[in-house]
Symmetry: C2
Subunit: 306 residues, 2 copies
């Protein structure tokens, strides 16, 4: 079952010819998760062929313009293209006011339901059958959330030969076992899922951190993440500026990834001054080897775990 | 003296991979005029290397999102890049409310003066030493303005040999004549500008029409325009849809250009359905031969007139 991450916008604050403003998309089983929605996100979605009418949830990290100013245009385009499915938007307090102000002051008709859920306390945001979304406060100049998309474990591998050997015929009883239910094959014998299946397989964990200074709390939140997407606005020579503005350097982001035990760190939210991000990559690698720098429209397919 | 038109965004309503949302820039003697500011305009300005700190005036045709949603991000980027010059924004009623709502609901600090001038009555918008800007109501589903940038005539060619023959020595007296003032060369003789200069040379006239159905009033407004930039959202097979939504077809736009006696018609605001705009060009050419279809980042240098 595929999970694809597409980096729609990887610039910090100001776009460049090569980098649009903040947005990361995750596609999972026909569902789209969008993290932040900087100006231009709708056009990047068109470039990436993500579609505007699928089941979609949008998560806003914080209310700086470079992370939210793409929302009104995206909603308008969805409307114009005849979207009928509801859309859920999660974000810090003020997200609803922003959208309401846009809809009132721009000539704008919304033709599908938009549900805005403002997050006041960090923790569980969503609990679906196959995954959860959690939030945690990062450390920035204004309230800024990090999000984790965490799949629940999926059943272990089913062994048909074991089921047959235990007298369970192919058919509905196999299905019951695969659903985690025991089946009775005779008055004396009950077969349990463990008898015919391997242990559950862990789900994937993707963590997206909006603007933040390096944070031990976020390192815990990102514990064992398969992918940690973390901002790295400034290189080390601007470490003072990064500290003052509550942003991260590659070194800071890499230390968070190391503490978290993340499998892969992806640096994004790159200042316009780094036409070539090689210095950012080099600095991060000195601390944490499994790191790449995001580029616009870069994709990562995250494999299922055994 | 150069005048350069850059088409920053040429899409209608929804952007495409090739076309950004509405915006046209005109550079004239170091000054920048921006007509409409759809989402993504700031990034197109970066692509076109237009700069964010020059003398700039922005003219909004109407309050549909695809024409104004780029404003907040543009102002924010100007702020972040340290703009210090004031910025003037002209637009229909509601433009100020929109900007105020953005500034209140987005975490956003504006570090330079923004002067918003709402246009309630069509007519003269600006009267500067070398040019005027006029507005006229177009015919759309909401109040929508057309704008004309009209240069005042510039002095005719100065003939030094005539000045010398009339006894005017080279120097400050030549300058006075060139400024249109008579000079006294002796008690008996006054030399007037007409004696040493050709008749004034006409200025250039550029007309930008936002969303509109074809309009005789706009044809008059665009009378003798050097360049008429007119929307052509739908081809002729969608003429009914164009009429219903108060948009134009290429035929409609071409008829306006013909009535106006425009020298060049540029079609823009192209629906996403026309990946290849050849049909639009063909339809317009049947009515008016001097026509092109705008592409993003296309430039037109408008020469001085003799």
């Amino acid at each position: 079952m595929s999970m694809r991450i597409t980096f729609l916008g990887t610039a910090a604050s100001i776009p460049t010819a090569a980098r649009a403003l903040s947005a990361v998309a995750i596609q999972r089983k026909g569902e789209l998760f969008l993290f932040d929605c900087g100006e231009g996100t709708q056009r990047q979605m068109i470039q990436a062929k993500l579609g505007f009418n699928r089941k979609t949830r949008i998560f806003i990290t914080h209310k700086h313009g470079d992370h939210i100013l793409g929302l009104p245009g995206l909603l308008q385009t969805m409307s114009l293209l005849g979207r009928d499915k509801p859309l859920q938007i999660y974000g810090p307090k003020g997200t609803a006011d922003f959208l309401e102000a846009m809809i009132i002051t721009v000539e704008f008709s919304l033709r599908f339901p938009v549900e805005v859920c403002e997050i006041e306390n960090e923790g569980l945001v969503l609990n679906e059958q196959e995954y959860e979304v959690h939030s945690a406060w990062a450390e920035h100049s204004i309230p800024s959330l990090a999000y984790a998309l965490i799949e629940k474990p999926r059943p272990g591998k089913f062994h048909p030969e074991r089921a047959l050997a235990l007298g369970v015929p192919k058919g509905s009883l196999w299905h019951r076992l695969q659903e985690g239910k025991a089946v009775k094959v005779s008055d004396e014998q009950i077969v349990r899922p463990d008898d015919v299946m391997d242990p559950p397989r862990p789900g994937r964990k993707i963590v997206i951190v909006g603007d933040t200074k390096p944070s031990d709390k976020i390192a815990k939140f990102a514990c064992n993440a398969d992918i940690l997407i973390h901002e790295a606005t400034f290189a080390e020579d601007l470490a003072e500026r990064a500290a003052k503005d509550l942003h991260s350097t590659p070194t800071g982001a890499a230390l968070v990834a190391k503490k978290a035990g993340a499998k892969l760190l992806v640096l994004t939210h790159i200042s316009a001054r780094y036409g070539d991000p090689a210095i950012l990559l080099e600095e991060a690698k000195n601390v944490f080897p499994h790191v790449i720098v995001a580029e616009d429209l870069m994709r990562i397919d995250v494999p299922l775990k055994d």
